[in-house]
């Protein structure tokens, strides 16, 4: 009989077993016997005869986990048997090492997650008990039908283990999967991780405007971006990432990127804990100003709160015209009540209204 040829054996985890493939050009194979020895001691750790006409030999995990140890190198040989149970000469020897299965997974996305961006950095984590390094990996994006829509290509020697996938479509479902190879040629796979995309888009109005131009078969693209950022002076803090606290001497100033050019405008806001008798809002053009102060008083029906608007217009270097109006009077349900304040300027006149909203949560 001829000798079978044993193919290379991929390194595997003893807790999972493996399947050893071989090649044989003689008569039909009816059984195969695989012998695995410890490469250091040459002590046989596995020897089983499997009756099968297939050219592979399954090694069950129950044998390998009992007799073999991850981190050790072994040598395998194989013989085959014909229909008369004649055993062939021994095959070539094949060396392999057993390693623990690496842990390879996405660290910032789980199955069923909702992603709120069109572009998302998918981060991976990798660990292996015997410190075998990850040599390469590929991240692949699939649509809902598991059709591939994007692939990162093979990424080598990347310590960051992060791939940003852009162009995700709002309200679409995707699967992402990472596969790779370790330095010991162990395949790693995260499996399909399903996620959906719900892009949180606060900029829906006019930020990007599209217009069909039928007589040119074109689309007019217009952006309307308003960039205004306030700055702070002194000590300010945020409450629940929903409100700004300026009670410790801090200020928030918006003085770049806008101008109230028209003679009519509305300014409204929601405040709470306004310090009594203090100026809490000032609007200015550098010369003239509009100031709002918060007041309380008793006009015969108990203590009430009100805002007072003072508009100063500089007529010349020695004369300033002052315009003062007061808001309606309100009582506050509690010291933490929210107050809605609305100013309307219509040409040279102002409306000033305030309203107690009670203790509502910041939004």
């Amino acid at each position: 009989m001829l000798s079978p040829i044993l193919y290379a054996i991929d390194n595997f985890d003893v807790s999972k077993g493996t399947t050893v493939k071989f090649y044989y050009t003689g008569e039909q194979v009816f059984a195969s016997r695989l012998t695995i020895k410890d490469n250091e001691t040459l002590k046989t750790v596995y020897q089983e005869k499997v009756v099968s006409m297939q050219l592979y030999h399954p090694v069950a995990a129950e044998f390998t986990s009992e007799k073999m140890v991850n981190g050790k190198t072994y040598v395998a040989t194989l013989t085959v048997f014909d229909k008369n149970d004649n055993e062939s000469p021994v095959s070539n020897s094949v060396l392999f090492t057993c390693y623990s299965t690496p842990i390879f997974k996405f660290s910032n996305v789980n199955d069923g997650d909702i992603i709120s961006d069109a572009s998302y950095p998918f981060k991976l984590s990798y660990s292996q008990k015997e410190n075998i390094a990850l040599s390469q990996y590929i991240v692949t994006l699939y649509d809902y039908g598991h059709n591939q829509v994007w692939s990162s290509g093979a990424i080598y020697n990347d310590a960051s283990l992060s791939v940003t996938i852009g162009g995700l479509t709002d309200n679409a479902n995707y699967y992402v999967r990472a596969t790779g190879n370790t330095a010991a040629n162990i395949e790693v796979d995260t499996g399909y991780i399903g996620f959906s995309v719900n892009i949180v888009n606060p900029n829906t109005f006019l930020v990007l405007s599209l217009e069909n131009v039928a007589d040119e078969s074109s689309v007019k693209v217009t952006t309307n971006i308003v960039i205004v950022e306030g700055r702070s002076e002194g000590n300010i803090s945020y409450i629940d990432n929903a409100a700004v606290d300026m009670r410790n001497g801090g200020k928030v100033i918006f003085d770049d990127g806008f101008s109230l050019k028209k003679n009519t405008f509305t300014i409204g806001g929601i405040w709470r804990n306004i310090e009594d008798y203090s100026t809490f809002l000032e609007i200015s053009n550098g010369v003239d100003s509009i100031k709002l102060t918060w007041n309380k008083g008793n006009f015969g029906d108990g203590e009430v709160y009100y805002a007072e608007l003072t508009a100063n217009t500089k007529i010349n270097s020695s004369f300033t015209l002052t315009y003062i109006i007061q808001s309606n009077h309100i009582t506050l349900a509690s010291t933490d009540s929210c107050v809605l304040i609305a100013i309307q300027k219509i040409d040279g006149l102002f409306n000033l209204n305030i309203k107690d909203l009670g203790e509502v949560a910041f939004t």
């Binding site: 109005f205 945020y238 405040w271 000032e282």
Partner: protein, 304 residues
């Protein structure tokens, strides 16, 4: 009202405050309080707690203090904005291509893009505005549109010609698909072998139609000036630059005019002249490389 025997404040508005004229305010300061939000508009609006304000063209700023002091309709600052990109993809496609990139943004007035995308076919598209913040693409603001037009358009980099008249006689553009193959007939086989050489795979065809300027005011074709119009068309077709042919059935091609001639046939009337030329497809309208090198995009970000 009488006061010490004299009449004062005699009219209903006599005691009203004096009007003040404060314009062009450009600074708003908040202090001595906790503020949930502040909203400013050039409209006279009924600002109330039950209806949250929406951005409009008259909104000046709207600060919500969600852990930051942004008060515009985007959450990035001028100092970090490296560029703005407008991207496009057919609805359902995954691949974006950048059509327009705005760089060199120094001041607020620079942050505006206005251009016409002359390349879309009659199918639904998504467009995205993408800020490039510190050289990294940020959040996509996506809108969709389906261009709607009638007839055939021949689009050059700076001129567009349009017609609905006598299009290929049959009213349809029917291209030919070309690919490279060779057939070998061996002596010992009943059937030949077919070889596919290369990856050539492109359309070509003929476009014949009647062209004349269209008077939009009176909604009629100006055949009196058709000759001049056709000459302008022929000048554009022979300028050696890529063109886009698109038709209202949703088809379109990035093409070059080929075969050395553009012919005209009068068809029995000077008002019924059909101009005919051959074209061949030279690129993909969804390729950023092809659009850029054909002069239909001002950048080539994707290189695909």
């Amino acid at each position: 009202m009488m006061f010490f025997g004299s009449g004062i404040l005699g009219y209903s508005h006599s005691a009203d405050p004096t009007l003040v004229n404060i314009n062009n305010s450009n600074s708003v300061t908040l202090e001595n309080s906790v503020c949930d939000e502040i909203y400013t508009s050039l409209d006279i609006e009924n600002y109330n707690s039950t209806t949250k304000p929406e951005w409009s063209s008259n909104t000046i700023f709207y600060a919500k203090f969600h852990g930051n002091l942004f008060a515009g309709n985007v959450e990035y600052t001028l100092s970090t904005l490296s560029a703005l990109r407008v991207k496009r993809r057919p609805m359902g496609s995954y691949k974006w291509i950048t059509l327009h990139e705005l760089t060199g943004i120094k001041k607020v007035e620079d942050v505006r893009i206005e251009f016409k995308d002359i390349t879309p076919l009659m199918q639904e598209y998504e467009y995205a505005l993408v800020p490039v913040i510190n050289n990294v693409e940020g959040e996509y603001t996506i809108e969709s549109i389906k261009p709607d037009f009638r007839g055939v358009f021949i689009v050059g980099q700076d001129k567009i010609f349009h017609t609905v008249l006598n299009i290929n006689s049959c009213g349809e553009i029917l291209p030919q698909r070309n690919f490279a193959s060779a057939t070998a007939t061996p002596l010992d086989s009943k059937y030949p072998y077919v070889f596919y050489n290369g990856i050539n795979n492109y359309d070509s065809g003929t476009l014949a139609a009647t062209y004349a300027p269209f008077d939009k005011e009176n909604c009629e074709w100006d055949f009196e000036n058709a000759c001049k119009y056709r000459n302008e068309l022929k000048d554009m077709l022979t300028d050696g630059r890529p063109k886009i042919i698109k038709y209202d059935d949703g088809c379109g091609w990035l093409v070059a005019v080929v075969n050395n001639s553009i012919t005209e046939n009068a068809n029995g009337s000077k008002y019924n002249v059909v101009t005919s030329f051959d074209w061949t497809e030279i690129g993909n309208l969804e390729s950023s490389n092809d659009l850029y090198f054909s002069g239909f995009a001002n950048c080539n970000v994707e290189g695909s």
